[in-house]
């Protein structure tokens, strides 16, 4: 379900937008590393696939039906970076073209539905595949659990965002219970469909499943009736293994970046929440009586109301703008630095 405009207040939406922009920037780099110059057509086609598969109805019972959200599926089939990109592009196009999800809530939608779902699903999947025996059923089982966890995780993060920047003071505890409860049910369906779909793809084209790389059995040749290991003609598997560990590190970096974003968003959002309460109390004081006379807000409520409100309104609009500009500046700086860093390590495996 897409968040509309006005659901989350403006500052938190702006911060979520910055987080989403950062995540998309990181994924653009990662996807280019995963797919080289094939990124545009392949990621585009996978995005089209996710868009289409969201329209595929899975009947549950008695006329009700559900559909796939696709975050976990994308993460397992094409990898975390491409997965984040594809789901983000789908959300962007849904927001602009189909008015599905607000334009100002795009950051929240991408952060929650693309980034959290894909990152959680891929981390869980990767962890399980490493632990479980290297067999095909364990990939399917890992896909099931990854998808099962990713949906309630997204719901929990959405509740967190709502707790910080929600426009209504609905009791957060009950929202969390309701959201996670409902989404665990949805997650069951998502998990079953994801696992079945991943299983179906593995049965036909195991090489296409990003999460199942490294599970292919070594090629055997029958020489004079005996099975012998085929000579390693391609050094590619080694390079893939080396890269995947680096990918894991990069994923960790991405998660920590995200956490840093979320933590800083706490730091910046708490005063906002206070201000919101303060504003509400100020309005209450004006409407009823001066109940809050002993609070520091009394001044705000009594004198120069028009002026402070004018400045408040201006500050709101300007603040949003400044946040966006500052965020973009940071994003560009980070991007430039990353370009400089990236040059040296990527050239190494090609030399090997």
């Amino acid at each position: 379900m897409h968040v509309p405009d006005g659901f989350i207040n403006a500052p938190v939406s702006a911060v979520a937008g910055v987080v989403a922009a950062g995540a998309v920037a990181v994924s653009l780099r990662g996807a280019r590393r995963e797919l080289d110059e094939r990124t545009a057509p392949l990621a585009g086609l996978v995005a089209a696939f996710i868009f289409a598969v969201q329209m595929l109805n899975f009947p549950v019972a008695a006329g009700t039906s559900g559909h796939l959200l696709g975050g976990a599926l994308a993460a397992i089939l094409v990898g975390p970076y491409t997965g984040v990109l594809c789901v983000s592009v789908v959300l962007l196009m849904q927001g602009i073209l189909f008015a599905d999800g607000g334009l100002t809530a795009l950051g929240v939608n991408i952060s929650v539905m693309a980034v959290v779902t894909v990152v959680v699903a891929y981390a869980v999947f990767r962890g399980l595949v490493k632990v479980l025996p290297k067999k095909r059923p364990s990939v399917t089982a890992s896909a099931f659990i990854a998808a099962l966890l990713s949906v309630p995780a997204a719901a929990a993060v959405f509740t967190l965002v709502y707790a910080v920047g929600g426009t209504t003071d609905v009791p957060i505890g009950s929202v969390l219970t309701a959201m996670v409860g409902v989404h665990t049910l949805i997650g069951m369906g998502e998990a079953a469909i994801t696992a079945l779909t991943v299983g179906a793809v593995i049965a036909v084209r195991p090489d296409l499943v990003y999460g199942a790389r490294g599970l292919t059995a070594p090629l055997k040749l029958r020489v004079n009736g005996e099975l012998v290991d085929a000579p390693a003609a391609r050094p590619e598997p080694v390079a893939v293994a080396a890269r995947s560990s680096r990918k894991f590190l990069l994923a960790g970096l991405g998660v920590s970046l995200l956490l840093a974003g979320v933590v800083s968003f706490y730091a910046s959002a708490d005063p906002d929440g206070l201000e919101k309460v303060a504003a509400d109390k100020g309005i209450d004081a004006k409407a009823e009586d001066h109940a809050a006379a002993d609070s520091p807000l009394a001044d705000y409520g009594v004198e120069g109301l028009t002026n402070s409100r004018l400045s408040g309104g201006l500050a709101g609009v300007i603040g949003v703008g400044v946040t966006i500009v500052a965020g973009t500046g940071v994003f560009w700086a980070v991007r430039k630095r990353r370009t400089g860093e990236d040059c040296s390590p990527t050239s190494v495996p090609e030399n090997v």
């Binding site: 509309p4 405009d5 653009l28 289409a52 602009i96 209504t168 003071d169 609905v170 309104g313």
Partner: protein
Amino acid sequence: MGAGHAHKLYRHAHSPVHALPPHTKLAAVFAFVVVVVSTPREAMWAFGLYAVLLGVVAAVARVPAGFLLRRLLIEIPFVAFAVLMPFVAQGERVEVLGMSLSVSGLWGAWNVLAKGTLGVAASVLLAATTELRELLLGLQRLKLPPLLVQIASFMIRYGDVIADEMRRMRIARESRGFEASGVRHWGVLAKSAGALFIRSYERGERVHLAMISRGYAGSMPVIDEVTASRAQWSYAFALPFAALVVCLLGWNL
């Protein structure tokens, strides 16, 4: 041209709004929505004025009211959510028609309904007056990463192809007597989804080879750079500026 070149939401017409460069429209709609979201919810009249502003834009763009209203139906799930809010929110309560409703919940519901509806209406107007290709050019002009725009353009270009492929698979299933009626049939549907993924991915590989054979080297050539004159920018930004005035009034009154 085939159906894939004009999306369903686009209404072909010749109006001043249609003629505006796409990136000015995108920026104007985004600025408008930001202004709407930062308006205090207590200023109910301000939202009425915003609706009037959008109505004027719709009239200038010759988008019929019925079309606009029908497209607004997309936000029905959130209307349902908004209706629940007064019942679950905390705080002081009022009696309305014998039901105990939360005041802050009522404000919250109003907030989501008003801002959400205005946002949807603005997006619908944008989609109704801008062609897909223009929209992508506009995004590119607004300095979205070129790779992201390319991915989006491939998604749009092949979205209908993939959806048609899915439709053909459904017809093939149904013509063999398959009817999905419950959880038992998920296996078959998931196999279809898996096959669809393989077909999409392989199509992507073929598209890439076709592009390479035509000289693709990582970036798309920009053939028609869209530009906007100062007059066009100011024309497009008439909407958000008017909204900003209303917003500031809303904070003051």
